[in-house]
Symmetry: C2
Amino acid sequence: MVDIATRVHNHKWKIDPIVRSLIDTDFYKLLMCQSIFRNHPDTQVTFSLINRTKSVRLAELVDEGELREQLDYARSLRLARGESTWLRGNTFYGKRQMFRSDFMEWFEGFQLPPYHLEKRDGQYELTFEGKWHEVMLWEIPALAILMELRGRAVLDRMGKFELQVLYARAMTRVWEKIEALRELPDLKIADFGTRRRHSFLWQDWCVQAMLEGLGDSAKGGAFTGTSNCLIAMRRDIEAVGTNAHELPMVYAALSETDETLRRAPYKVLADWHEEHEGNLRIILPDTYGTKGFLELAPDWLAGWTGIRIDSGDPASGAEDAIAWWRARGEDPRDKLVIFSDGLTVDKIRELHAQFSGRVKVSFGWGTLLTNDFRKLVPDDGLAPFSLVCKAISANGRPTVKLSDNPEKAMGPEAEIARYKRVFGVGDQQAFDVVV
Amino acid sequence: MVDIATRVHNHKWKIDPIVRSLIDTDFYKLLMCQSIFRNHPDTQVTFSLINRTKSVRLAELVDEGELREQLDYARSLRLARGESTWLRGNTFYGKRQMFRSDFMEWFEGFQLPPYHLEKRDGQYELTFEGKWHEVMLWEIPALAILMELRGRAVLDRMGKFELQVLYARAMTRVWEKIEALRELPDLKIADFGTRRRHSFLWQDWCVQAMLEGLGDSAKGGAFTGTSNCLIAMRRDIEAVGTNAHELPMVYAALSETDETLRRAPYKVLADWHEEHEGNLRIILPDTYGTKGFLELAPDWLAGWTGIRIDSGDPASGAEDAIAWWRARGEDPRDKLVIFSDGLTVDKIRELHAQFSGRVKVSFGWGTLLTNDFRKLVPDDGLAPFSLVCKAISANGRPTVKLSDNPEKAMGPEAEIARYKRVFGVGDQQAFDVVV
C-alpha cells in the first residue's frame, strides 16, 4: 500500500510523472480509437482543452514549465510489452481479441503527437491537431495532467502532517461513501474517474477501496470495474466503458448537408453495431438532445443493450428511455441504464431506488469518487472543476455539442443554432455543471 | 513517514516487537531508577499489572503465547550504543550529565529481570519481583505490550482498507485536537502517553503531529516534548517527566511506625531535592491525599518549582496549591502547575482558561493523545482502558495508594484504613477512571 501523503510530500523529485503509461487512460478511448483507426484514418481533428470553470485561473496556478515537462514526459511514453500483452490477451466484456492485430501493431509504435500551448486570460490554451485517432488519445492525459498539477500547486504549500491529515480526511470520506453504498441491494457501480482524478495514486487507492468495500462484481460484489486500463490491469479487474460524444460530434461536423447531419448520430451507432455486441452496445443519446434522438432513432437501436445518461436530469432521461423502449416493443427490465453524470451518494441512492427492478441499473462514478477534496483545504483550493478536452473541429469544420444541459453546449453560435434546428431542440433546462 | 496501516496489516511477521528499545520508556522512570539505584539498591519490590477495567477480559483477548513472546523479546533488549551515548551526552532539563557514570555503567549491562505470568478469571496476573531499580523498569514495557496486544487482537480481524480508514479516522481526530489546541495562547503541552499508547508507531506519529501542529517549544511553539526517551532521541526533542507515585508508595511501605509513615512522602522529596533542581522539582502531592500533604508539608517544599495534579478534580487541586503557595508566602505566578490526569481538549481548554496568568500552566497529555480510537471499531473494541503496573509490596510489606480519587486507591483494606488515619484522609469524592 502506497503512503500517498509521503509521495505527495516528495513531489519535488525531478519529475514525478502524472501520466506514467499510455494505457493510463479510459478503456473507451482505446475502443473508439480502434474504430476511428479503421473507419476514419485520414480525418484531421483538433482537440482543445476547455476550462468551463473560469474562476479557476489555471495559468496562474500551474507553472508553464512544469506543465510542459509533464506533457513532454507523456509524449515520451510507448506502450510497454506487458501492456501490449494485456491488451492483446485479456478478455474485455467477455470477448477475446477485442483489439485487432493491425490496431495493436500501430498502437505499439505510437507516441502522443505534438501539442500547442499558450497562455491567454489566465487560462491555458492547449490544443492537439492531427489525425483523429492520434490526437484523441491526448484527451485523458491532458486532463489528468492539468487536474493534478493544479492539485500539486495547492499541496505544495502544505506541511508533511497537514498533508497526511488531508489524505486521512479524504480517505475517510471515500470510505464513508462506500459504507453508505454497501446498503444498496444489488448495486452495480464502476469507477469512471480517470480524467478529473486528484492523482493516479489516489484513483488507484479509491479503486482498491471500492474493491474491498463493495466486492468485485465477478465474485458477486457491487464493484464492476474501472475505466482506467492501467489500474484494471494492475488490480486484475474489469476495464469498462463503451463510447463517447466525440464520435457523433466529429461525424456531425463532417456532414455536408442538414440531412446527413441529422443522420450522423445514427451512423456512429451503425458503425459501432458492426463492431460490437452485448454490453458494448450502449447508446449515448444526448449529444444533440436525448428526446429528438430517441424519437428519430431507427428500430434496430431499440435492440441495443442499454443507454448511458450523461447530462440533464438523470431521472427524466431514464424515464424517457423506458418509455421509448416500451413504445418500440422492448421490455425495459432487460435493458441497462448507466448513470454517469454528476453522481453523489445521495443521487446514486435516489436513482437506485427509483429504477431498480424497472431496468438494470448501473453507475459510472467519476469525479466525486476520485477527486472529492471539497472543503478540505483553505479557500476550497482542491474543489473539482469542470475541465474538458474536446474535439473542436474536424477537417476544418467546427464541432458542436448540445447535450441535455445548455451549460454543457459548445461550438460556434451560428452552428449551435443550426444544430438546434436540425435536431429539433427547443428550450432546455439548465443544470449546474460541477464537474 | 511510516505507513502505519501497512505495518499493522503485516503484523503476522514472526515477531513485530512492541517494545524495541530499553529507552522506549518514560524519562521519569530512568530518573527515579537512578535515584533508587543510589538510595535503595537493596530494596526488594514486587510490581504487578492491575487492570482496573474488569470488563476488558485481557486473557480472553490476548494470546498467552504472543504475550510471552513479546515479554521475552523485551527481556532480550540491551541498551544500544547510540542510546547510551544519548543518555550520557544529552542535556535534560538544561543539565548535562543528568545520568551519573555509575548508573550508566549499570544500565549498559542491564536486562529486564524475569517475569511471572498466570491467567486468573479472564485476566493476566503478571508480576515482577526483585530489586526495586530493576523490576521498576518493567512498568512501561509491560503496559505498552498488553495495550498493544489487545489492540492487535482487534485489528487482526480487519481488512486492509478498513485498517487504512481506521487510521485515517484516528489521524483526523488527533489533528482536529491539535487544531483546537492551536487556538489557546501560550499553551504548553507534552506527550505523556507511552504506557497506554495504541502502539509505538502511533505514539511516534502523534508526537510528530504535535510537533508540526503546535511547534517545538524550543522555538516558541506549544509542544514541550515527550516522556518517551526513544521518541525524544529520534525526533530530537525534549524528554520530559520528573517522578511518580512509586517513590512515596515504597518509602511508605518501608516505614516501621505511623510517624515514619507520615514523614515518608516528604522524605522522598527531600532525597529528590538533593539530586535535582529547577523544573525537576515538581511536587506530586496526591499519593495519600493532596490536602493533608500540603498542610503538613515542610516550608522548603513551597520553594519548589511546581506541582503535578494527577487525580481528583484538577481545578480544585490547582486552587488548593495556589492557596498553599500564598499561605507560604510564595507568588503562584512563579509556579508551574502540570495537569496530567484524564485530559481531553475540552478539559485542557477549561483549565487553561481558569489558570493562565495565575500560575504557569502546563499539560502532560497521556492516553487520549496516544490512544484515542474510541468508537472507531465495532463494540468499541479499541477504547482505552485503565491498566496500571504498580509496586504492590516492598521488602514483603504491602504498598498503599490513596490518591485524590477513591477509585484509584489500592492496597489491603486494613492498610488503607491505617493510611487514611495516619494521613487524615476523610471522605473523598469519586471520579470515573477512564484511563
